[in-house]
Amino acid sequence: MPTSSLATSSTSSSFSLSTTHTVHELITFFSCEEDEEEDLPCSSSFTRTHFDKSGIRTSKVITRTVAISPETKRKMMRMEEERRERRVQLELEKAQIRAAQKVREAQEVTAAKNLRESGSKRSLVRRAAKRTKVKIASILIRDSSRDDTLGRSKRGNSLEWDNSAGCSSRFPETFSDSRLLEMFQHPSGMPIEPDVMMEGYLYKRSSNAFKTWNRRWFQIKDKQLLYSHRSSDLEPPTVMEENLRICLVRPAPSNIDRIGCFELVTPTRIHLLQADSESLCQDWMRALQRTILALHEGGDSTDADSSSPRNKTVSASSNVSASNAISPTSNQLDITKGRSVSDPASTSGSTSTNIPFMASSTSQPSSTAFEQIRRVPGNEVCADCGSPSPKWVSINLGVILCIECSGAHRSLGVQVSKVRSLCMDSIDNELRDVLLSLGNRQVNAIFLAHLPSSPDAIVPPPINEKSARPAREAWIKAKYVERRFAVSEDTRARSSANSRQEHLVHKTSVEGNTNGVNRSSSYANVQDADQHSGLLDADPWSADLSIPVSPASKRLSACGSDTNLEAIGNSIDAKTVDWESIKEACESGDLLALLRAHAQGFDLMALHNGTTALHIATRSGQTAAVEFLLLNGAKINMLDEKLNTPLHLAAREGHTLQVCQLLKRGADNNLANVDSKTPLDIAMECTHADIVTLFRVTIMRNEFNADFNNPMDETVEVVISDIARRAATEKEQKKTASLKETSETSQI
């Protein structure tokens, strides 16, 4: 197109600061795909369109607020200055654009004679879009009024603007600290994607030997960089980078002889990308940089915006609840099993960052795991001390923690609590599912189920956000290691009599079972032995009250201590009693029941009736339950009585997702069961093509294992994620289909 050179030269204007009172100037750029040729340089052209506010309102304004910490403020100021310079440029460019627009209009008119002068610019745009299958993206990044000189008048505008979008109520009061990124979707028929920061065509250089340059539609979405083929409607976009936070953007090295190139450097590799022009390249780099910056603030992003208003208003209330650890408990006890996604608005001042995710919160996995997890009831404050905006998580206990408490958790060792960062560590789908089914409120309901009612009776005293380290450690140890409040003294006392009798009945079966237990759970024994001693220190009664049904005694039993034969007897007794419910919990994926049993000392890792909880969960296709068990000490290659590993069962049942999950976690696919069959043999017999493929790819990778930089790692990853994604979709479809069926039958 003749206009393209003109237009691309002014691309930079797509990042403009523009809000005037009544008219928003929106610089739109088109990426037109004219034909099937991959390498044809596409023509970009600019159109300036005037939208009035009502127009904007209907065209879906998506607003994203990212708060900026003081440190980055300076950086932002610099950028701001740059931008001001550019505004001057912009004025010049606008003139150019107008000229370009005229040319373009003239072309349009001649090309489509029916289109009269009377046709507004917008309809022109729309027509053009339809005709050439134009994907239009426009980005307007508006820097809100951090800069004092620009500030005052603009702030008013911004608020108005936001009001019109219906989001104003969620903006933090400290508006001057926020940066708004706005994205407009245009009448091209593209689906509205609220989380997309920037999108458009880029060339990516493929990683294979040919280094082919492919033109793809890229999107910066959440913390990911995605790209898709032209036929993107059919295939889900490929994730180029899962987590931009750990990436770096820089201009391409000078030996690349193409213009408009930049690099996205990740810990494992470097992506080389090319924009259609130098200025577009600048825009992309800037957008990526901003995203990365925002993600770094990230943890802060959510914190910063929640903390600033909270300091004034909410902190008072959170102090109250934190200083009194009973209140969370009492609130939490009435929580029912069904986890409801909490309304972000209700989570004590959590602010605008949630807005883009609201729509997709329940069904779409598009919102980040972090955001989803934060919305689980109770997760807005630290599970232990109640301080706001916790950013750490104990992945096996399913509680969200502040940094101080996470330190105390770490000190307990990974066999008790595995601490990760919600912001910096990657949370895969399996782990996300675990964390979504647990959460502070419900887990506290388990671990603090029997907190004495009078605060004075609680030893050690509950902690709050100001507690010193020793107090935190004491509380956290009592809560999770000794599990002092997970078990009620009363229940113990009351049940002791009955249980003693029951215990006698079951005692006969002790010996055989004990062998089984010891065989498979030696690892758990070691752990529990510690806990046992801890328990005895802390709880002088437990030794005397040997109460089989009560969790305390189960814990004793699980320790497998040789000296306490009676305790072992009790424990086995308790296990046979509870085993059915554990089995049910594994089959139905009821993590809370599993955690409760675990908290009460039940040995989840032991062999029962020739199988283990992990085997049952795997066989039942309960991804989250499998993950939970693995996180809490289940051995991934555990054997059942037929020497099947969980992988054998997953292969037999055709549970592709479980196979992916187990392989990801390093399951050995080379073990033969009692029929001397490996999981691969079983998958072949059952002709599960996906599973066979998964095993074969893994085997192939292992052939390369001597390499420190295994060339197959990425391939295997891609294959696993490919297959897992498809399996997940199929499972979802089946689920909805069966739901439909049941609802139909129930109607009949």
Partner: protein, 211 residues
């Protein structure tokens, strides 16, 4: 195979495609293990084998992916072609329909594989002279028109199997080494899946953490 197999200058991913029953798996086993099985079963999912050959003094390791021709036993598509630099598109010279479907397979390659992928059309089962349904010339012309290399093989009697793989690997080698002249840094982007043109001084092998 053996330890020599671990050292290579180039690693090329080559995929075998074509209808069910044309002999892909037997071509693979003939080339990599010198085995042939008259009663082989349908491939389920994906199979792999590797073999290193020498091309112009360089060791080229071919990692050959073999997938089920039968739709219901196929697992991955885009990942199958991902990073592939060569494709052997196999048909059965005694079954005309498998030749007719070449078009369909080419389309699949166009959809999923790199545009520079080296494709070789392979008429397999050339030992079945009396049952021939696809004339050699016809296939040759078709291949030329579509810019494919062409060869007829027999996995059963070993005819041309070696040649087929050697030819395609040489062609890939040439294509790749040309690309690299003056293009940009070598080894850029690291283990991008398949092809690591190892820097001549330190093959990837040697960088192991043993040291």
């Amino acid at each position: 195979m053996g330890s020599r197999d671990d050292e290579y200058d180039y690693l090329f991913k080559v995929v075998l495609i074509g209808d069910s029953g044309v002999g892909k798996s037997n071509l693979l086993s003939r080339f990599t293990r010198n085995e042939f099985n008259l009663e082989s079963k349908s491939t389920i999912g994906v199979e792999f084998a590797t073999r290193s050959i020498s091309v112009e003094g360089k060791t080229v390791k071919a990692q050959i992916w073999d997938t089920a021709g039968q739709e219901r036993y196929r697992a991955i598509t885009s990942a199958y072609y991902r990073g592939a630099v060569g494709a052997l598109l196999v048909y059965d010279i005694a079954k005309h329909v498998t030749y007719e479907n070449v078009e369909r397979w080419l389309k699949e390659l166009r959809d999923h594989a790199d545009q520079n992928i080296v494709i070789m059309l392979v008429g397999n089962k050339s030992d079945l002279r009396h049952l021939r349904a696809v004339p050699t010339d016809e296939a040759k012309i078709y291949a030329e028109r579509n810019q494919l290399s062409f060869i007829e093989t027999s996995a059963l009697d070993s005819t041309n199997v070696e040649a087929a793989f050697t030819n395609i690997l040489t062609e890939i080698y040439k294509s790749v080494s040309n690309k690299h002249v003056g293009s940009d840094r070598q080894g850029y982007g690291g283990g991008g899946g398949t092809i690591i043109p190892a820097p001549p001084t330190e093959p990837p092998k040697k960088q192991c953490c043993n040291s």
